[in-house]
C-alpha cells in the first residue's frame, strides 16, 4: 500500500494537548499561482508561433479590453457564488444598466460620469430586487434569477424601442470616445508614458478588484457573506443578518453587471439591447477557474481576473493561429479541462507529500 512510516522511537509519549505542529500545504498548491504560470507559458507559446501576438495596439489592447470587461462580469458572478447563490441574469442586468447610461446621455444630456452613476444605480436596484425576492420567498436563486433574466429579456428591448428610433442610443457624451480608445500610453508622468497595451477602461476593473478584495479579505461584511454561503442556518443562529446579506450580494452583483455593461458599451460605442448577450458562460468560467466554489463560502478575487485572462489568452492565441470558431471552442474546452485537472493533481500530490512528512 502507501509508504508505511513508522516513526523512530514510536513508544515515546507524544504531547497530549493540542501541541501538534501546524502542517500547511506547500505554496505551489496555490491555484492562482498555477493559473498565472499557465497564462505566461501559453502567452510565450503563442508569441513564439505568431510574433504578432505581442503587437500592443492591434492584439494586446483589444485583448485586455475584453479581459477587463469579462473580469468584471466574473466578479459579478463571484459575489453571488460567495453566498452559495447564482445569477443567471448577469448579461441582462448589464443590458439593463447600459440602457440607463444611454438614456442619460441621449435624453437627459448627462455628462459621462453621471451617466455611469445612473447605470450603476439601476443595476444595484434590479439586483437588490432579485435578492429581496430570494430572501423573502426562499425560492432558489437559480429559479429567481432565471425568471429575472426572462423578464429583462423582454423589458430591455421594449425600453429601447420606446426611447429610440433604431434600437440603440448613439449620442456620445464628451470623453466617451477617449475612454474607448485611450490607453496608458496617453497618460504620462513627465517623460515616462504607460504601455499602449493597457486600455483605460481597465481602471474600472482595477477599482472593482481592489474594492472586492478589501470587502472579502478585510471586512466584517465580507466574512459574513462567506459564512452565509457556507451554512445559512448556522449563520443566522450566530447573529448574522442572512437576509440582508443575500440582498447585498445580489445588489453588488447587479452593480458589477451594470458596470460591465457600461464597459462593453464603451467598447462598441453604442448602447443597445444586445449588450451582455454572451456574458453568462464567461461569468461562471472566470470565477470557477479562479477558485471560487460553486457551493459558497470561498471566493478568489484575483482568481477571477486570472481565470478570465486565461480564457482570453487562449481565445486570442488560437484565433491568431487561424483556428476556426468551432474547433476553437473544442480546443478551449480541452485546455480548461486540463487546467482544472492539473489543479486537482497538484492538490492530491501535495497532500500525499504533507501526509508522508507527518
Amino acid at each position: 500500500m502507501k509508504t508505511a512510516v513508522k516513526p523512530p522511537g514510536s513508544d515515546t509519549a507524544r504531547p497530549t494537548d493540542g501541541a501538534r505542529p501546524a502542517h500547511r500545504l506547500p505554496f505551489w498548491v496555490n491555484q492562482q499561482l498555477g493559473l498565472l504560470v499557465l497564462i505566461v507559458v501559453l502567452a510565450a507559446v503563442f508569441g513564439t508561433l505568431r510574433p504578432a501576438f505581442f503587437n500592443e495596439r492591434l492584439v494586446l489592447f483589444p485583448l485586455l479590453r475584453d479581459v477587463s470587461t469579462l473580469t468584471v462580469v466574473a466578479l459579478a458572478q463571484m459575489v453571488v457564488l460567495s453566498i452559495g447563490h447564482m445569477n443567471l441574469a448577469v448579461g441582462r442586468m448589464a443590458a439593463f444598466g447600459a440602457f440607463f447610461a444611454g438614456f442619460g446621455y441621449d435624453r437627459l444630456g448627462l455628462p459621462l460620469v453621471l451617466g455611469l452613476v445612473l447605470c450603476l444605480v439601476a443595476g444595484a436596484a434590479v439586483g437588490a430586487l432579485t435578492g429581496w425576492i430570494i430572501a423573502r420567498t426562499g425560492v432558489n436563486s437559480f429559479v429567481v434569477t432565471l425568471a429575472m433574466d426572462f423578464a429583462l429579456l423582454g423589458l430591455v428591448p421594449l425600453l429601447y424601442s420606446a426611447c429610440t428610433e433604431n434600437a440603440a442610443f448613439t449620442t456620445r457624451p464628451a470623453g466617451l470616445a477617449e475612454l474607448r480608445s485611450s490607453s496608458l500610453a496617453d497618460i504620462c508622468l513627465g517623460p515616462v508614458c504607460g504601455s499602449p497595451a493597457v486600455p483605460q477602461v481597465a481602471q474600472f476593473t482595477v477599482l472593482a478588484l481592489a474594492g472586492l478584495a478589501f470587502l472579502y479579505y478585510r471586512t466584517r461584511t465580507g466574512r459574513e457573506l462567506l459564512l452565509t454561503g457556507a451554512n445559512p442556518a448556522a449563520a443566522e443562529l450566530s447573529g448574522i443578518p442572512t437576509g440582508r446579506r443575500v440582498v447585498l450580494a445580489h445588489a453588488l452583483s447587479g452593480t458589477l453587471a451594470a458596470l460591465a455593461g457600461f464597459m462593453a458599451a464603451v467598447g462598441t460605442g453604442t448602447f443597445r439591447a444586445s449588450i451582455g448577450d454572451d456574458f453568462m458562460l464567461p461569468s461562471f468560467l472566470g470565477a470557477v477557474l479562479g477558485g471560487t466554489l460553486l457551493t459558497g463560502g470561498a471566493v478568489s478575487v484575483v482568481g477571477a481576473l486570472l481565470g478570465t485572462t486565461l480564457v482570453g489568452v487562449i481565445r486570442k492565441g488560437l484565433d491568431l493561429l487561424g483556428v476556426g470558431l468551432e474547433s476553437l471552442n473544442i480546443y478551449l474546452g480541452c485546455v480548461l479541462l486540463l487546467a482544472l485537472s492539473a489543479d486537482r493533481v497538484r492538490t492530491v500530490v501535495s497532500y500525499r507529500k504533507v501526509v508522508r512528512s507527518t
Binding site: M1, V5, T16, A22, R220, R223, L237, G297, T358
Partner: protein
C-alpha cells in the same frame, strides 16, 4: 471467545499534521459488545471510518474471518456485513423516515422502488427501538434525537454481522438509550458483534464486555475483558494520568434578584402552551424532557425564529420583542449554543478563527468595517487555549476536528461574545470525560460570575451536577419543577414521575386522534 468476525491489524491513518491512527488493533468477536473508548480526537471515529471503507488506511490490514479484505467504499463494507451509525448524522432531510431506513437496500419490484413495501420493515426497525414515528414523515421535521434513532433503525435494517455505533446515545435521554441497549443485548444473543463508542462510562459498563482504549491514535488497551477494570482505571488509561474530579466552589443565587429572562404564559406556533420560567443572574436553570418535548423549539421561538402567539418575554424586567438571533445577541446579549453542531453550530468548511470570532466581528470592526486579523487571531487563540481545543492551526477547517473539539469550537464562539445570558443546548454531547468536567466547571464558573444560564440537557447526571432547579417539559408544556438536591436517585425518581404522570394520558390522547 473464538469466533472472530473481523480484525484490524496495526492500522495507520495519517491526515496532514496528524497521525490519527498509529498502529491500532481491534478484534471483533461474534456475540460480544466491544467498547471503543478514548478522549476527543483519540481516533475512534477515524478507526470506524477505516473499518467501514470511508477512509483507506495508510498501512495495516483488515481481516474478515482471517482473510484480508480491501474496502474501497462504504458500499463494499455494507456488502461485507458491516453496519454503522456514524457520529454525525447522515440522513437525507427531504426523504421520509421509511425511505431513509431502507436507503441502502430499498425493496423493489421489477426494478422500481416499491414505496408500500418500505413501510413494514421500517416500522419493524422503529418498533424495535420503541419509537412511535410515522414512517412517512420527512426526516427534516424530526428532532435531533429522533433523527439519531432513525439512523440506528437504518443500521438495524441492514442486519449486519458487525454493527459499529459511534456515540449513538450522545443526544438520547436515559429512557431512550435503554431501548437501544435492549436491542444491543438482543443482537448480541443472535451472534452479532456490536462495537460501541461512548463517553458515558456508566453505559459502557452496563452493556459492554470487551474494551479497547485509544490514546493519541494508539491502543493503550487492546480487546481486553471489561470485567477486569473499574471506571477509574479506564479513565486513567484514556487520559494517560490520574484524573481526579475536584468539587466545585459552592454558588448561591439571590432568589429576590430581578430575572434576567422571564417568560410568562408563553404560547408559540410550534405548540407550546402557557410556558413560564424565570432565570436569575448567576442561576443555572435546567430544562429536562424526553425526545420531542419541545425544549430547543422553545428557545428558537424566544429568539425570534418561530412565532410567539401569546404571553410575554421580559429581558432584565423590560418587555422584549426579539425578532432574530442577531437582535438577541447584539441588543439583548443572549447567546444560544445549539444542539445540532453539524447543521447549526459550526461552519465545517471554514477556518477555526472565523468559527470562533463570528459573534464578535461587530465589536472588532473598525471605521471602514475592516477587522484586523491580528485582533481576530488573538480572540480565537485565547479561547482555543482556554478550552484546550485540539487544533493543528487556527486556519484549519473546523470540519477536520474530532467531534468533541467541534463542540468546543461552537461553545467558544459564545464565550467570545461575552453574552449576558447563555442558553446551552446539550453542551457536552460527544465530549470526553475530562473535557466534560472542564465544561461543567466552566459553566459553573460562568454562573458564579453572575451569568444566568439556561441548561437544556438529556443527560440527567449533568443536570444534577449543574442545575439549581430542574424544569420538566413534556408535550410542549412545563409539567413541573424540582429543586436540585444533588441526589441522583431522588432527583431521577421525581423527574420520571412528573414525565410519566403526564406522558401516559397525553400519549393515549394523541393516539386517539389521527
Amino acid at each position: 471467545m473464538s469466533d472472530v468476525l473481523l480484525e484490524c491489524d496495526s492500522i495507520v491513518k495519517v491526515f496532514p499534521g496528524v497521525r490519527a491512527l498509529d498502529g491500532v488493533g481491534l478484534t471483533m468477536t461474534a456475540g460480544s459488545v466491544h467498547a471503543l473508548l478514548g478522549e476527543n480526537g483519540a481516533g475512534k471515529s477515524t478507526l470506524i471510518k477505516v473499518i467501514t471503507g470511508v477512509h483507506t488506511p495508510d498501512d495495516g490490514r483488515l481481516l474478515r474471518r482471517g482473510e484480508e479484505i480491501h474496502l474501497r467504499s462504504p458500499l463494499d463494507a455494507t456488502r461485507a456485513g458491516i453496519g454503522v451509525v456514524h457520529q454525525e448524522r447522515n440522513l437525507i432531510p427531504g426523504f421520509s423516515v421509511a425511505e431513509n431506513i431502507t436507503l441502502q437496500n430499498p425493496p423493489s419490484r421489477r426494478g422500481l422502488v416499491d414505496r408500500d413495501a418500505m413501510t413494514a420493515p421500517a416500522e419493524r426497525c422503529l418498533a424495535e427501538l420503541g419509537l412511535d414515528l410515522d414512517p412517512h414523515r420527512p426526516v427534516r421535521e424530526l428532532s435531533v434525537a429522533q433523527q439519531q434513532l432513525v439512523e440506528i433503525a437504518k443500521a438495524l435494517y441492514t442486519e449486519s454481522q458487525v454493527l459499529l455505533l459511534d456515540e449513538p446515545t450522545a443526544s438520547l435521554s436515559p429512557q431512550e438509550a435503554e431501548h437501544l441497549f435492549d436491542v444491543v443485548r438482543r443482537l448480541k444473543e443472535r451472534g452479532t458483534c456490536v462495537v460501541f463508542v461512548s463517553h458515558k462510562l456508566e453505559e459502557v459498563f452496563a452493556i459492554c464486555d470487551t474494551v479497547t482504549v485509544l490514546r493519541d491514535g494508539r491502543s493503550v488497551l487492546e480487546s481486553a475483558p471489561l470485567s477486569d477494570y473499574v471506571q477509574d482505571d479506564v479513565v486513567t488509561l484514556m487520559v494517560g494520568r490520574q484524573h481526579s474530579v475536584t468539587d466545585m466552589t459552592p454558588r448561591t443565587v439571590d432568589p429576590t434578584a430581578r430575572p434576567a429572562l422571564s417568560l410568562s404564559g408563553l404560547n408559540t406556533a410550534a405548540g407550546h402552551r402557557d410556558v413560564s420560567l424565570d432565570i436569575r443572574p448567576g442561576e443555572i436553570v435546567g430544562l429536562y424532557g424526553l425526545v420531542g418535548a419541545g425544549r430547543s423549539e422553545l428557545v428558537k421561538a424566544v429568539l425570534g425564529l418561530d412565532r410567539v402567539t401569546g404571553g410575554e418575554i421580559r429581558v432584565d424586567g423590560e418587555p422584549a420583542r426579539i425578532r432574530s438571533p442577531r437582535e438577541a445577541l447584539h441588543t439583548y446579549g443572549i447567546g444560544y449554543l445549539t444542539e445540532n453542531r453539524k447543521e447549526e453550530g459550526v461552519f465545517l468548511e471554514q477556518p477555526i478563527v472565523r468559527n470562533i470570532t463570528v459573534t464578535v466581528w461587530k465589536k472588532l470592526a473598525r471605521f471602514l468595517g475592516d477587522i484586523s486579523s491580528r485582533a481576530e487571531k488573538d480572540v480565537a487563540q485565547d479561547l482555543v487555549d482556554r478550552l484546550g481545543i485540539r487544533v493543528s492551526g487556527l486556519a484549519q477547517n473546523a470540519g477536520e476536528l474530532s467531534g468533541g473539539n467541534q463542540q468546543k469550537v461552537s461553545l467558544a464562539k459564545w464565550l467570545a461574545a461575552e453574552t449576558r445570558l447563555l442558553v446551552v443546548d446539550e453542551p457536552t454531547v460527544g465530549v470526553d470525560v475530562r473535557t466534560k468536567h472542564a465544561f461543567h466547571e466552566l459553566i459553573w464558573e460562568l454562573a458564579r460570575g453572575g451569568l444566568p444560564i439556561l441548561l437544556i440537557s438529556s443527560d440527567l447526571t449533568e443536570m444534577i451536577t449543574l442545575a439549581d432547579r430542574v424544569l420538566v417539559m413534556a408535550d410542549h408544556r412545563i409539567r413541573g419543577e424540582v429543586p436540585n438536591d444533588h441526589d441522583y436517585d431522588n432527583m431521577s425518581g421525581q423527574i420520571i414521575r412528573i414525565i410519566h404522570d403526564r406522558a401516559h394520558p397525553a400519549a393515549a390522547a394523541s393516539n386517539g386522534t389521527p
